[in-house]
Subunit: 343 residues, 2 copies
């Protein structure tokens, strides 16, 4: 095999992205140099924040470049090693290009043990989404026993973990999501106290009913009118970790809503934006605690796995339609050398 | 003298308040009981936050009641005492009714010494506005030497102190205010580095020019498009103490602007509403430090004093037109028994 496929950014989207923003390109098989390995992509993750990287604007992560491969979290198998740290058949995780085979420096990879937890969990509950939930909720939200925690995007990779950690902390947890199946999932599988389907319910009214004692923590994943409603129901000294605003990512026009200043004053509330890398020096703490809760059965997770490299763009676009429950992943290939445990 | 005047809330304003929201009412002279004193009102303060109290809505201070006197910070003279703690001729401060003479319980008054600082400073730089500046800037804003601090309402009672404290802390300070006289005042009297006249300049563009290294702290007093502009120029880990949003207080419709979620995420910024009473257990610290800076000549202040009880509504309404520089006060009367030092 001397050829493989990459996915390039064909052009920057205006508004909602579509297939025409992606371009499949045939490329030569890369060759590792000293200190590098050749990797076979097994799973890759598509995430809402990648929409922001499609803009040519200063932000917390560098923008994608036109006619270059996109990139993100990938679980891969070492198929050829010129590194003393990795052997053929090792499973690794890294921030890598969207291509079927890629070369990476040993410094940018971390080996994962397929026997401890499924390898996909390192892209989800034990990876960036789990860490995002953990630090946003605990460091910024600081939930206390008996308080009411509301989370939007509640059935997603981050929101589903936020709600479960809030339950572990003894809070009343209300999740907002976009289908009755998702509401059923967060209530009956994950143990949320209440769920609100924003596509069929009046969110403000439903939130008011579901939070008779007001909102102490609102974990923001979506923005828009759902955020507006939650911000109208804050208790004194409420906290709002601002993780995402997926409802606005594809807006062409300014995203207008009620200004928050007066609401924040009335409740002496705190609103704090963050990205998971703000906590990079504490990732060990997060991974350890999340892994412990996972092993104790206190955390559950769901994955939506699409098969096939050719379906990566579709999986990404589906995020904005809310087709995923839990972490959205793409399975690109099976390993060639490694044997993964049956689960 | 057996009669005196009170100012009642005649009806709740819709939009901008006007004279018709106030009613002057003749009332009997009140009589103190045991533990109470009869007070002659000397100075009273009118403040933007009082607009919120004219609404019949849950907020951080109880709403004013129709056909009842309004109330707020007052400096008064004890003219008759049935309290062992106060003597005739004492100057006191308290949260009191808007009337020429009032009765108050000794527990709700604090004696002030006219020889240490002018008695009006207890309604201004040493009082609520000074404390509001002090705690909002230092506790929430946490300015560090060399950082850029922007304050709106910069020539007002709070903003003028915010900027001066930020200068004491070694910051670059940019003030936004509504007239060239005010800009001249904050730059040439108070030592701000830059001033922006929002009535004649494009605030976003002017802020961008005045803050070549971005904004680290934005002390929010006004909201609206000025707030929008500042929030567009935040540095990573910026802090926004949200003290007021005077531009929206008289809005009948929802106050719409760009939602802040994406901006807060891009800069991992913090936005925190507060009211001065959140810091009531630290008022001694604030008063002591502010008094020290005042005596050292590091803090300057300005007062706009209107004379005459009949002009209280006018003075209040003027706040929304920006007619005041520094603290807006009304002088109601001279003391009967006390002799104040000449300054």
């Amino acid at each position: 095999m001397t050829k493989q496929r990459q996915i390039h950014l064909a052009k920057r989207p205006e508004g909602m992205p579509s297939m025409e923003n992606f371009n499949f390109v045939e490329a030569d098989m890369p060759t590792p140099k000293d200190g590098e390995v050749l990797l076979k992509t097994l799973y890759l993750t598509v995430d809402p924040y990648m929409r922001g990287r499609m803009r040519d604007a200063k932000s917390y992560v560098a923008p994608f470049q036109i006619n270059e491969p996109l990139n993100g979290g990938v679980v891969a198998e070492v198929t050829e090693s010129k590194s003393s740290q990795f052997n053929q058949g090792d499973i690794v995780i890294g921030h890598l290009s969207w291509e079927e085979y890629t070369v990476a420096n040993e410094k940018h990879l971390r080996k994962i043990d397929p026997n401890v937890a499924p390898i996909t969990t390192h892209l989800g509950i034990l990876g960036m989404p789990g860490q995002t939930a953990y630090f946003g909720l605990l460091d910024i939200g600081q939930p206390k026993e008996g308080e009411t925690v509301v989370v939007s995007g509640a059935a997603g990779a981050v929101g589903s973990v936020v709600g479960q950690i809030a339950k572990i902390k003894g809070c009343r947890v209300v999740g907002i999501a976009g289908s009755d199946d998702k509401i059923d999932y967060i209530k009956n599988e994950l143990g949320f106290d209440e769920g609100i389907n924003y596509k069929t319910q009046d969110v403000y009214k439903a939130l008011k009913d579901a939070c008779p004692n007001g909102i102490d923590v609102y974990y923001e994943n979506v923005g828009g009118e759902i955020g507006d409603a939650a911000i109208s129901l804050l208790n004194k000294f409420a906290r709002i970790p601002v993780c995402g605003a997926i409802s606005s990512y594809n807006n062409k026009e300014a995203d207008l809503g009620p200004r928050v200043q007066t609401k924040l004053i009335q409740s002496s509330a705190l609103m704090k934006g963050f990205v998971v890398n703000d906590y990079s020096d504490r990732f060990n703490e997060g991974a350890e605690q999340l892994g412990k809760w996972l092993q104790e059965g206190k955390l559950k997770y769901e994955e939506t796995i699409v098969e096939g490299f050719e379906n990566v763009p579709d999986a990404f676009l589906g995020l904005f339609e809310g087709t995923n429950v839990g972490k959205q992943l793409v399975k690109v290939a099976d390993p060639e050398y490694a044997t993964l445990p049956n689960r």
